[in-house]
Amino acid sequence: MAAKGRTQNAVARLFAHWRGAVAIVAFVLVWQILGTMSSTFGGKIPTPIEVTQIFFASFVDDPRYWRNWAASFERVLWGFGYAQLFGIPLGIALGLSRTTEEIVFPVFEVLRPIPPLAWVPVSILFWPTHEASIIFITFIGAFFVIVINVFDGIRHIPERYFWLATSLGATRWRIFLRIVLPAVIPSVAVGMTLGIAITWDVLVAAEMIAGDLGLGRLTWEGYVSNTPEIVIVGMISIGIAGYLSARIVDYIEARLMPWAQHDPKFRGRR
C-alpha cells in the first residue's frame, strides 16, 4: 500500500508543477511570436530559435566563448574569495570587540551604501592591471555583505552559550574556537549566498565598462555590433554561470554546517 502511495505522491508532485511548466512554455512562445513580428518599437527581438541557432553555429565550438566563461569565473573566484578572506575576520572582530566596533563600524557604514560600480573609476586608477581592477569591484560587491552578516551573526549568539562554556572552565581562546566560530557559520552562509549573487551582478557590469574578456564583455560586444542574438546568448550564459556558482556555494554551506540539515532553525535562512 505504501509503494502505491509513494508513486501517487510523485505523480501528484509532477502534476502540481504543471502550471510552472506551462508558464515557461508560454513565455518562450510569446518571445517567439514577438520575435517573428517585425517589432514596432525599438530594435528587433531575436526569436529563441535564432538565438539557439547562432549559439550552436558559432559559439559552442568556439574556444574564445569558453575562455569568456573561464575569465568571468576566475574574476568571481578571486573577488569573492578575497571578500570572504578579509570580510569574515573583520565581521568577527567587529562582533567581538566593542572598541573595534565603535571605531571601525561608523566608517564602514559610510562606505557601505556606495554602489560597487561607483568604485570602477577609482579601481582602474589604483590597480596596475585591468584584471586587478575588475577583481577589486567583485571584491567590493561581496565584501560589505559578508561583513555585515557575520557581524550580525556574532551579535545574535545567545549569551548563555558563552556563560555555559565559561562555567565549564573553557578559556576565551577555546570559547572562540569551539563556540564563536561554529556559531557564526550560518551567518557566513547567508553572507556568501547573497555575496555570490551580487558578485556576478557587479562583474557583468564591470566587464561591460572596463573588461576585455568575459561573459559581460561578450554581451557588450553583442550590443556594440548590434546583434541582439549575441546579447541574449551572453545573458543566458551569465544566468547559467550565476546559477552554477550559487549551487557551489550551497554545497560549501552544506559541508560547513552538517548539523544544519537536521535543525530547522538554521535551514532556509536566506
Partner: protein, 270 residues
C-alpha cells in the same frame, strides 16, 4: 560525592534601561540552598527568579551582597555550580556526546578516556546512549533536557541550578522528566536549586520551597515539604500533599498584588 551548600547574603540588583527609571529586581535577598537537598525557588514570572539564578551561577554581578559556596565567597562562574537554562543550551553544532564531554575536554584534556567512559555511563542512565552521535536538532524536547542535565552532572558540580527547565515541554513529557530527575537526585543527592512557576511541580520535587516575593524583591515565606522519598505520582493524592498545596497557594496569592495592567507591562518578565 555529596553536594555543597550555596548561600546568598543580602543580594541587591537593579536593571538600568536607558531613558527609564532603574527597575529594582532584588533587594536585600538572602537564601540558603542546603547541601544534598532539593530546594525549589517558586514565584510568578517576572519576580527576579532568573536574575537570582544568574547571580548565584556568577554570570551577573549583584549591585550589593555576596554569594558563598561552602562558606567561601564566589564570584566567577565555575564548574562547582552549573546551571541548566530555561532555553535549550546544547551547542547545535556538537553531537550529544561532544556536548556532554565539553566540560571535561576543556578542563582536563589529558583524561580523555576516563571522561568518555563517564559520559557513556551517564548517557546510558539517561536513555540517550543510542543518540550520542546525533545533533541536538534531531532530539525531542525531553531528550534535549536529559542531555543538558548529563552535560552538567558529568562535571560533578557542588550545586546544580535549574531555571524552569521543563517549561515549554508538553505536560506529559514534563511529568516524565520530573520523575526522571527525581530518580537522578535520589541516587546521588546533588545539591539542587530548582526554579519553577508551577505549584504542583514544586511540591512534587522539593525538600523545601522558597517563595519569591516580587514586591519586596526577596525570598518571603519558606515551606518544608516533608513528603517521603522516593516520591511517586500517587503521593499527589495524599492528605499531606493537599495541605502543603493549600499553604503554597495561600502564599502565592498573598504575594500576588492586584493585576496592574500598566501599558508597558512586559509579557516576558525577568
Amino acid at each position: 560525592m555529596s553536594g555543597g551548600e550555596l548561600r546568598a547574603e543580602s543580594l541587591g540588583k537593579a536593571y538600568r534601561i536607558k531613558g527609564q527609571a532603574p527597575v529594582r529586581v532584588l533587594d536585600n535577598c538572602s537564601l540558603a540552598v542546603a547541601a544534598g537537598r532539593l530546594t525549589v525557588l517558586m514565584g510568578p514570572s517576572g519576580s527576579g527568579k532568573s536574575t537570582l539564578a544568574y547571580i548565584l551561577a556568577g554570570y551577573v554581578a549583584p549591585d550589593r551582597g555576596r554569594v558563598l559556596l561552602d562558606g567561601a565567597a564566589v564570584e566567577k562562574p565555575g564548574p562547582n555550580r552549573l546551571m541548566v537554562f530555561q532555553e535549550t543550551t546544547l551547542w547545535p553544532w556538537m553531537t550529544v556526546a561532544d556536548n556532554v564531554l565539553f566540560g571535561p575536554s576543556v578542563r582536563t584534556p589529558g583524561a580523555e578516556a576516563e571522561a568518555r567512559a563517564k559520559a557513556r555511563d551517564l548517557l546510558r542512565r539517561f536513555g540517550l546512549l543510542d543518540f550520542q552521535d546525533k545533533f541536538p536538532g534531531q532530539l525531542s524536547g525531553g531528550m534535549k533536557r536529559r542531555a543538558e542535565i548529563a552535560q552538567a552532572l558529568i562535571n560533578e558540580p557542588r550545586v546544580l541550578i535549574m531555571d524552569e527547565p521543563f517549561r515549554g515541554l508538553d505536560v506529559m513529557t514534563r511529568e516524565l522528566m520530573q520523575e526522571y530527575y527525581l530518580k537522578v537526585f535520589e541516587e546521588s543527592r546533588p545539591t539542587t536549586l530548582f526554579i519553577t512557576s508551577e505549584i504542583e511541580e514544586a511540591i512534587f520535587l522539593a525538600d523545601v520551597i522558597l517563595f519569591m516575593d516580587p514586591r519586596l524583591g526577596r525570598v518571603g515565606r519558606v515551606i518544608e515539604v516533608d513528603l517521603p522519598r522516593p516520591r511517586t505520582f500517587e503521593i499527589m493524592a495524599s492528605a499531606r500533599y493537599r495541605e502543603i498545596k493549600e499553604q503554597a497557594l495561600e502564599t502565592l496569592y498573598a504575594h500576588e498584588e492586584s493585576e496592574q495592567y500598566s501599558p508597558q507591562q512586559t509579557p516576558t518578565g525577568g
